[in-house]
Symmetry: C2
Subunit: 311 residues, 2 copies
């Protein structure tokens, strides 16, 4: 089996690095870090044990890569516009694309690029950061929830391809959960992401600081209630008590900076479209207006523009 | 006529200073600045001309002050809990209390303190700051909109007492507008304050920065629409097109930091209760839920607590 990794940063570098270390033939596409990684390989500092891959298959042009059976996409969803120029070069016609990305609707936007490929969504519960060229710091967590995409957005169930990918991740030491319905899994993750990602950016706070403040908890809960209602009107009712489970779990977590906060601090574009605007529009089309989430999205758009124009 | 000024800061120091300069017998109650003002008087740097009042009637105990005909309250509304210990000492039983404060419901909370007194609300369109002991910097604007309070919150009209106060302000060079209905005037001002005060704090931005950003304008407009609807369900319909007038006026204004932003930067408590929570509760009791405004209020409460615990 050959694996290509597109986007060798905090997410792709970490998971791709683990899979490469486990003995799978792995090919990394790089951009600004190419020269450095070609010469020095990848370094992963991890709370589960540091490791170095001193020699990796590094590329700066997708045309130079072999056709792979599996492509891991570790790009931010904000960069997906580059995928039409990359994917056809690096994947077998009937290969598997694993989108290790946040948000909702991301699969819909790329399934036409390689029509014969299978798309799997990977929801990462990971706190990691790229801290230098080819240098990833893994801070906490690391599990991935995998579910297969269907173009009609119905449940794909647990397919053999999904199990193949799960096995590859597990053999690399990555904790995997499987879900039968990708869209439901994405809405579930949105309950957390829409509540915390934006609020942590706007208030410049980590999750533990929010959970220690009665007003911030009320705001987070209020946004979660909107997302649950949004999922419901879109036809994906989440289970009773889901919000309380999320709040309790977050209360017990260590101080956590969501990926959007790390992006903001690094001056990178924020995934407002994928994490906020798309689900807000989906819910609104289905008859529910997520007013709080939209207010946060507007604040994020303002902050994002200012952040990047000053950088 | 004798005038007492309670709260000789950015608002009370400015308006009280102008009234004192115009020849009215004025008595200033001070707290931390007492020794300095007793010795050096008040200094007002104003865009309309700097002036100094080298000797003023300064007090640090309300018991030492004469009974006055008019009391100007320039405290932040967050400090109104001190008024029951002050007002009875400094005002004639049938005197006039002018509350130069933001928010709504402030009069309702103090009218029992001196039952025979007349209460007038003063809505200040003022950008000023206290930059040192007895030292006020007046940056821009300065007009006051005055309306008389009635305990049943109906229109008091243009009364002779209102005109007396208006005349005193005008003779001091202060631009005055009169309103027949204090509650309507307060809701009108809330349309601006609820939209800009909190948003400028949360986004650490001046009004011109918000008005230059399409998402921030959409958020500001969305909050304004909630306030207009809140006023309507409470029985105070505002005129058609009021929001557009506010937005256009703000677009033409110089870069402006609302009072709440100045409070935040100085580590002072924010008037979330008076500017957000009270009108939100009034509207909700009347059947309308100001969801965006409440989200901003929750953000402000979090930021306010963090700001003051770190100070």
């Amino acid at each position: 089996m050959k694996v290509a990794v597109i986007g060798t940063g905090a997410v792709g570098g970490y998971y791709g690095g683990l899979i490469c270390r486990s003995g799978v033939e792995t090919h990394f596409l790089l951009h600004s870090d190419f020269d450095h990684v070609k010469e020095h390989g990848l370094v992963i500092d991890s709370k589960d044990g540091d490791f170095t891959l001193p020699e990796v298959n590094a590329y700066d042009r997708p045309e130079d890569m072999p056709e792979c059976d599996v492509v891991l996409v570790g790009l931010k969803a904000t960069a997906n516009h580059v995928l039409p120029d990359i994917l056809p070069h690096v994947i077998r016609d009937d290969g598997i694309i694993v989108l290790l990305q946040n948000g909702i609707g991301v699969e819909d936007r790329i399934h036409g690029i390689v029509p014969g490929a299978t798309i799997i969504g990977g929801l990462c519960f990971l706190c990691s950061n790229k801290i230098g060229p080819g240098y990833i710091r893994h801070l906490d967590f690391g599990a991935v929830r995998l579910a297969q995409h269907r173009n009609d957005n119905t449940a794909a169930g647990i397919t053999s391809k999904l199990e193949t990918i799960a096995q590859m991740f597990e053999q690399a030491g990555i904790s995997v959960m499987l879900a039968e319905h990708l869209v439901v899994a994405r809405w579930q993750k949105l309950v957390w992401n829409m509540a915390y990602n934006g609020t942590c950016v706007v208030l410049a706070a980590t999750t533990d600081q929010l959970m220690a403040d009665v007003s911030a908890v009320a705001l987070v809960r209020g946004i979660m209630e909107e997302v649950v209602e949004g999922a419901r009107v879109c036809g994906y009712p989440l289970e009773e008590g889901f919000i309380d489970v999320m709040l309790e779990a977050t209360k017990k977590m260590v101080a956590y900076s969501p990926s959007m906060k790390l992006d903001f601090e690094a001056g990178r574009p924020l995934e407002v479209e994928e994490i906020y605007r798309t689900p807000i529009a989906m819910a609104r089309n289905a008859g529910f207006y997520m007013v709080r989430a939209e207010a946060v999205a507007m604040q994020l758009e303002f902050l994002d523009r200012r952040n990047r124009s000053s950088a």
